[in-house]
């Protein structure tokens, strides 16, 4: 199990890396003084440095006094995974097949597998939401959502 201490150190390393990347990326645009004022990289450069320094301090604090209790109970980790994995699947599906089709598959899957609902109710809900979204977004607000090959096939 990941302890709270390890998670603190992990997150602090990520933010430290982020600060470093920002500060390094900023050097490309100049971090000094030009005749027209501070160069474009100046502000992000120092922001990156501040993030880096504060992250390192957080990391030291966690190393010195971090508590070793687990960040997540094992059973909770399972609950989170059961929620997060289908969600990632939904995002990938939405990029491949469009948001409407992905919504249908995602809802049908979670209702059938995790909710243990019957086919009838699962299909009703998982068809209802994308249809409702279509009516609301495309018709009422005229905001098109991401579409995929299926919509192209039926000419939407």
């Amino acid at each position: 199990m990941i302890s709270r201490k390890a998670a603190e150190i992990g997150l602090a390393s990520v933010t430290a890396l982020f600060g470093t990347v920002i500060a390094y990326g900023a050097t490309e645009f100049g971090v000094g003084w030009a005749p027209s004022g501070p160069e474009p990289g100046t502000f992000p450069f120092y922001i990156g440095l501040i993030v880096l320094v504060a992250s390192l301090a957080n990391m030291v604090a966690a190393l010195v006094a971090g508590d070793g209790t687990p960040l997540l109970e094992r059973s909770h980790l399972k609950d989170v995974a059961r929620f997060v994995v289908p969600m990632i699947g939904f995002v990938i599906l939405a990029l491949l097949l469009g948001i409407y089709v992905a919504t249908f598959v995602y809802l049908l899957g979670t209702m059938r597998v995790q909710g243990r609902y019957g086919w009838g109710r699962s299909i009703a809900v998982s068809l209802g939401l994308p249809l409702g979204l279509y009516a609301l977004m495309e018709k009422a607000f005229q905001v098109p959502l991401l579409k995929g090959p299926l919509e192209a096939l039926i000419g939407l």
């Binding site: 997150l11 004022g37 100046t42 502000f43 993030v51 995602y106």
Partner: protein, 500 residues
């Protein structure tokens, strides 16, 4: 009395059929997002914002602010009935709201909450009405260094008063500024920090980040904590409401104190969450019935609710007059103002009085309508929470990603929302505050511009931030807030008892 005349003009703007209709829609949608787990006020406003791009700014801001009021009401509903705070700012309401509801007095608990919320909001709007003229005159004397000093003050008060670990707040603010810097630099026009990724050329939208941090992150946390809905039946009996109403004047001291705490925390960006906790703590300290706190003491509901709503309302004042949002939701709305082509700041009062005063008038109306509407619809919204999470959870996920896509019609934003969902979850688990990140993202460019313009004015000398009394005072105040956590420990002893 200028303000009064302007206010009446505002009412003439706000009181149209179209605007009242939007107010109703906004409040109902707000209660809905406030009630649903994972959807809070900042996230709800972010989801709705892309749909207002083509609307008239007055109508759009009325819709969004009404949604905010509704979300605040909705958040308290779930705190009381289900012991689940729908909003971070309604956590303190669970302490006494849920126990009182468990005693079979759900109607009283809800009525106390909504009535004191309404009272707090009204005090907040009155403060805005009275102060906006002063703040505006004051702000017209501002030039770049003063603006930067005010932004600096806002972030220092987060660090000093926010209550989260100081260095984690600094990291959060810094990440916000860094994210704001990605994409086109508004001064030089150069494309910064894109690292050759085409998707980053247009920058990272704060709306997508809000949806990830607040929406997806909150949902994962809800799942982890195991959403257990041991709901209490919510039937609102009008006689109980009236009886509670008659009891309200007895709590005048708590009401006034909490409203003042709220206004202060809303104007200085401490935010509604800090306000509600502080107000609850003060109410307990001053109460004659201290033992009753935590077991369903009415003052324990009135204090956080009043402060929460007065802070939420008062946060609109610095947003309009200075362009500094006092809460995460106000930050999102500020972003909206800029998208609609308005320039928040003192000139807004001069250039668009119809917008400013129409909004202020709508805040009076919206909160009165809100109290009535929420009392009438509580049973309906409470029943939504009885829909099993296996259906409602994925549905909220879909709505969040749809919202992220509508911001800019960019498929890449789905990844951004997902990524920030994980970041939001980890930040919350490890006690990193999120609101400062959003604030920094929204005003990042403006703060940077102010900083650079100041340095151009002074040819690079940092002494420009102490060049006159006004900017010097602001900077000194900011630095004072910055060292406040350390100073407080030295002054009041190290063994500070933990706050409630």
């Amino acid at each position: 009395m200028d303000n009064l005349a302007s206010l009446f003009h505002g009412f003439s703007v706000a009181l149209s059929f179209h605007h009242i209709f939007l107010m109703l829609v906004g409040i109902l949608l707000g209660i809905l997002v406030g009630v649903l787990p994972g959807l809070g006020a900042p996230n709800g406003v972010s989801l709705l914002l892309p749909l207002t791009f083509t609307m008239d700014p007055v109508a759009a801001i009325i819709l969004l602010t009404s949604m905010y009021w509704g979300a605040l009401f909705g958040g308290s509903t779930t705190s009381i009935l289900f012991n689940i705070p729908g909003e971070p700012s309604s956590v303190a309401t669970t302490f006494d709201g849920y126990p009182l509801a468990q005693k079979g007095k759900a109607t009283e608990a809800l009525s106390y909450a909504f009535l004191s919320a309404g009272f707090g909001a009204l005090v907040g709007v009155i403060v805005i009405t009275l102060l906006s003229g002063v703040v505006q005159k004051f702000a017209l004397r501002f030039s770049a260094p003063e603006y930067f000093a005010v932004y600096f003050l806002a972030f220092c008060s987060f660090i000093g008063l926010g209550g989260a670990p100081v260095l984690k707040t600094v990291v959060s603010i810094g990440c916000g500024f860094a994210l704001a810097a990605v994409g086109m630099d508004s001064v030089s026009g150069s494309l910064r920090l894109t690292f050759e990724f085409d998707a980053l050329l247009a920058g990272i939208s704060f709306l997508v980040v809000v949806i990830g941090l607040f929406g997806i992150g909150e949902l994962i946390l809800t799942v982890e904590e195991g959403l257990q809905l041991k709901g209490i039946e919510a039937r609102v009996r009008p006689s109980d409401v009236l009886r509670t109403m008659a009891m309200m004047p007895r709590h005048w001291a708590t009401l006034l104190r909490s409203a003042l705490v709220g206004c202060w925390m809303g104007i200085t960006p401490g935010g509604p969450t800090a306000a509600s906790f502080m107000s609850y703590g003060l109410a307990r300290r001053f109460s004659k019935y201290r033992q009753g706190f935590g077991k369903g003491e009415p003052d324990g509901i009135i204090a956080p609710e009043t402060a929460d709503h007065s802070a939420g309302t008062a946060a609109m004042l610095p947003m309009l007059a200075l362009g500094i949002p006092g809460s995460a939701t106000a930050a999102v709305m500020l972003g909206g103002l800029m998208i609609w082509g308005l320039n928040p700041g003192p000139m807004l009062f001069v250039e668009r009085p119809d917008f400013v005063w129409g909004l202020i008038a709508s805040m009076y109306l919206g909160n009165v309508i809100g109290v009535i509407l929420v009392l009438a619809t509580v049973p309906m919204f409470a029943s939504i929470l009885r829909i099993p999470f296996a259906i409602i959870g994925p549905a909220i996920v879909v709505i969040c990603f749809v919202g992220a896509y509508t911001v800019g019609s960019r498929p890449f934003d789905l990844w951004v929302a997902l990524g920030f969902g994980f970041v939001g979850y980890l930040f919350k688990k490890l006690n990193y505050p999120i609101a400062p990140l959003i604030l920094a993202m929204v005003i990042g460019d403006k703060a940077e511009d102010a900083f650079r313009q100041s340095l151009i004015m002074s040819k690079g000398a940092l002494s420009v931030f102490w060049s006159n009394a006004l900017v010097g005072t602001l900077m000194a105040l900011a630095l004072l807030l910055l060292v406040w956590p350390v100073a407080a420990r030295v002054l009041f002893g190290g063994g500070r008892s933990s706050a409630p």
